[in-house]
């Protein structure tokens, strides 16, 4: 617990980061930059978990372990997503989501 910094500051910080990620996910059209936006979103949620754990339940460890597992899921998600992106690039020679529409219609 940081003296002089209430828990709300952490939550507001995480909110701003989360919605920056949302904005990026909506506007970007490149698969890798969309993946980066998703990483921002996951990271902001981790900050929330850690702040809740330290401020509201300092005698427990649930929040810490939850963000540990979120990081593990994010790592495996990034690995599989980048494998898919490289495969898409090999097949279509682009990773722009608007050009990869072979299965549409």
């Amino acid at each position: 617990m940081i003296t002089g910094v209430p828990v709300q500051y952490f939550l507001i910080l995480a909110t701003l980061m989360f919605f920056a990620g949302i904005y990026g996910f909506l506007t970007r059209r490149n698969l890798i930059t969309m993946l980066m936006a998703v990483e921002l979103i996951l990271n902001s949620v981790n900050i929330n978990f850690m702040a809740f754990n330290r401020y509201l339940y300092p005698h427990k460890m649930e929040g810490m372990f939850f963000s540990l597992f979120v990081i593990a899921v994010a790592a495996s998600e990034a690995a599989v997503a980048i494998a898919i992106i490289i495969n898409i690039y090999r097949r279509f020679a682009t990773i722009n989501v608007e050009d990869v529409n072979e299965m549409k219609y």
Partner: protein
Amino acid sequence: MTSNQLMFVLFSVMIIVFSILTVTTRRILRAATYLLLVLISTSGLYFMLNYQFMAAVQLTLYAGGIVVLIIFSILLTSHISQKFEPVGLKKSVFSALAAITGAILSIVTILDYKFSASVEAAKEVDMRLIGRSLLSVEYDGYVLPFEVISILLLAAMIAAIIVAKKGGPSKTKTPNYNKG
């Protein structure tokens, strides 16, 4: 303003500014660099919250592993000097509207809610305790999620190898670099 608050403000300003730059910059490699700075500042926040292990995991796994993976795939798929086309005005306005509305709603809710700070004594989270909890089957143990996550990591590893493996003749087109 105490040094704690000063450090918190420094880290939060870095996180917010670089998050916004990550999603708005038009050069893809710069976006990855800004993402790296965001993740490093986040690990600084974890150090301030006294979770040394999580800060180390954040630095090694996120800032070390995932960002390097992203940079590798950027170098494989895009031209470094190439810039994205600017986002269309309509799309950027509506996305910003959605994001700002959501942020304002969340912040109003957060400021409205009365969080009751805990009176319990803080638990010192050291490596030994984390290791014991991860492998414990008692009430505070996490052996089931630990096993599930290990199977998930194994599956992701195999899937990444199989998906990215070169198989059969692919119909390669001439590269037209991604737009935006």
